[in-house]
């Protein structure tokens, strides 16, 4: 947003909520309270319409058809690539690779970059708060390459990274530092720019898992100073099965392809092929075309609202939820208060997270209970898991109040 422009009028959050048809329903006779946005967000009418319009009017394969529909589909597809580049502050659309999601984006880097540049004895630095999708690909790579994994610890008291240990961990053997922007289980926002700067000092490549942040706060990859950044469409109002890998041009150019097939080649003989430049050399086969169209519509929608305002709204809701949860004597919240994204993880003393979640579901409240794909972190915190409420801009304080009433009933039920 241009700072010189007058600030637009305050957002009418209730009007935005009305854009989401799925939210207008009852579950088991109660109004749905959807607090599982960290797992997947819902789609506004604008995205649903864009998907339908594309499939009804413009669908064809991209990049190779010499006919009108293919031209339209290709133009819309590549326009979205530019839209994503702008959304991330990338220097060029050539730095945007479409993937199935965050997981595939990270696997792409682990295979294509890791396969070429990592050697036995090198170190991959991660953190203890990574989602399994930013841990398991590196474990597989370490096994193949003989590289070792090392972890920035999570402080047990406030769920932040032990940054005082960072410089000791960033030894010259570290070739890659991969970490999450916002923890999906604790809500912690990591200081990405600071982490990237520290890694750059020793020449390590950085990868940011932005699955929980891309649709939730403004991101500028050049300000952050990262080499790679990955996110998923379905956690930011878009469809499932579409995601993005941002890679700095110089690094993408140096990487070999990962998957082979159509779309990514220049010429093929029976013995050998030559490949297109990035990003196309990383997009073998027919891509998820309508997924890309839906992602573009989601970005348009989010940019209209403004990610800075979405962040303010969601963080405000998370802090409100923390205050209200503190009123329940048998409930403990996890993670920091400052630098927190729009989610709250908590433990109900009287009940296991799955019992809490099943109970809540009976009252139309969608929570997530369990380890949140963070088994090592839960083990470290000595928890079987947590219950988690994760918010988006269409959620309201009244819904948080509804959750508190349901949790109070759950405490009585299981006590």
């Amino acid at each position: 947003m241009n700072a010189a422009e007058p600030r637009p009028s305050p957002v009418d959050w209730n009007a935005l909520r009305a854009d989401f048809p799925i939210l207008r329903q009852e579950v088991r006779g109660r109004p749905l309270i959807y607090f599982d946005n960290a797992a997947s967000t819902q789609k506004p009418r604008a995205v649903l319409d864009a998907l339908r319009r594309f499939d009804e009017c413009d669908h064809a394969n991209v990049h190779r058809g010499l006919h009108e529909l293919s031209s339209r589909a290709t133009a819309a597809f590549e326009r979205t690539r530019q839209r994503v580049a702008d959304f991330l502050g990338a220097a060029s659309a050539d730095e945007i690779v479409f993937t199935r999601g965050t997981t595939e984006a990270i696997n792409l880097v682990a295979n294509a970059w890791g396969g070429k540049f990592l050697r036995a004895g090198d170190v991959i630095l991660l953190t203890e708060m990574e989602h399994h999708s930013n841990l398991v690909p590196w474990q597989l790579l370490a096994e193949r390459s003989g590289a070792r994994l090392r972890f920035v610890p999570v402080r047990e008291d406030d769920g932040t990274l032990a940054l005082d240990q960072l410089h000791a961990l960033l030894t010259p053997e570290v070739k890659l530092f991969a970490f999450t922007h916002i923890s999906n289980s604790l809500g912690t926002i990591n200081p990405v720019a600071e982490l990237c700067a520290a890694a750059r000092e020793i020449g390590a490549v950085t990868l940011v898992d932005a699955a929980q942040s891309a649709g939730h706060l403004p991101i500028d990859v050049r300000e952050l100073g990262c080499d790679f950044l990955a996110f998923s469409g379905h956690k930011m109002c878009g469809p499932t099965g579409i995601g993005v890998l941002y890679g700095r041009a110089e690094i993408l150019d140096a990487m070999p392809p990962w998957h082979g097939g159509g779309e990514m080649i220049v010429s093929v003989t029976l013995e050998k092929s030559t490949f297109k430049n990035a990003p196309h050399k990383f997009e073998a086969g027919t891509p998820n075309i309508s997924g890309v169209i839906g992602l573009g519509a989601a970005i348009d929608y989010l940019e209209e609202v403004g990610r800075d305002r979405i962040f303010e709204h969601d963080q405000g809701l998370a802090l409100y939820a923390m205050d209200r949860l503190a009123e329940l004597p048998g409930v403990r919240t996890l993670g920091p208060r400052d630098r927190r994204g729009g989610l709250v993880s908590f433990v109900v003393h009287a009940a296991h997270p799955h019992d809490v979640t099943t109970f809540a579901d009976q009252y139309g409240l969608a929570l997530r209970g369990g380890h949140h794909c963070n088994q090592p972190l839960m083990r470290k915190l000595g928890l079987p898991g947590t219950a988690r409420a994760s918010f988006y801009f269409y959620n309201t304080r009244e819904e948080v109040d509804g959750m508190i009433a349901i949790l109070a009933a759950a405490e009585r039920f299981f006590a």
Partner: protein, 158 residues
């Protein structure tokens, strides 16, 4: 109060979850099976000592988990102590049946275990109820030593 919830979390079940019976370890001998339900984080360590003719002489467990898995383990130990291996296997089969399908005339022999019939309306919670039984089935298969079972690789007791 919501009736499906009361059906799932019946008083007997909640009582066993809060005050699990036979919670502990068998110090010497017997089988030790570690059961794991990774999708939930439920974990059970089942200790079984078999006596003459494969009778279940001693049966204890430790672990952590939701109310359903804890109560299932607790009630299982109460039910199976003193039973023959064949009887234990039959209980296991009948238990798996009532948590997955509508059984209008569940065997009265199941007794308190019938409180788990409410689980079948919560498909995501079936694994929690079955975990201790999967561990028991493994114990019956090997009768000594240690093993690990997981609900993610559970083949349904066959």
């Amino acid at each position: 109060m919501n009736s499906e919830l009361e059906d799932l979390y019946q008083e007997v079940l909640l009582d066993h979850a809060k005050h699990p019976r036979n919670f502990g370890e068998i110090n010497e001998g017997g089988v030790h099976v570690h059961g794991d339900n990774p999708s939930c984080g439920d974990e059970i360590h089942l200790h079984v000592r078999f006596g003459k003719e494969g009778r279940v002489d001693e049966l204890k467990f430790t672990g952590q988990g939701c109310a359903i898995s804890l109560a299932s383990a607790s009630l299982m130990t109460v039910k199976l102590k003193g039973k023959t291996a064949a009887e234990a296997a039959e209980f296991s089969r009948a238990f798996r049946e009532i948590v997955t399908t509508e059984v209008p005339d569940a065997a009265p022999a199941l007794g308190d275990l019938r409180v788990f019939s409410g689980v079948r309306r919560f498909p995501q919670r079936v694994k929690c109820a079955v975990l201790p039984w999967a561990a028991m089935e493994q114990a019956l298969r090997q009768t000594n030593g240690e093993a690990t079972v997981s609900t993610e690789t559970d083949s349904g007791g066959s």
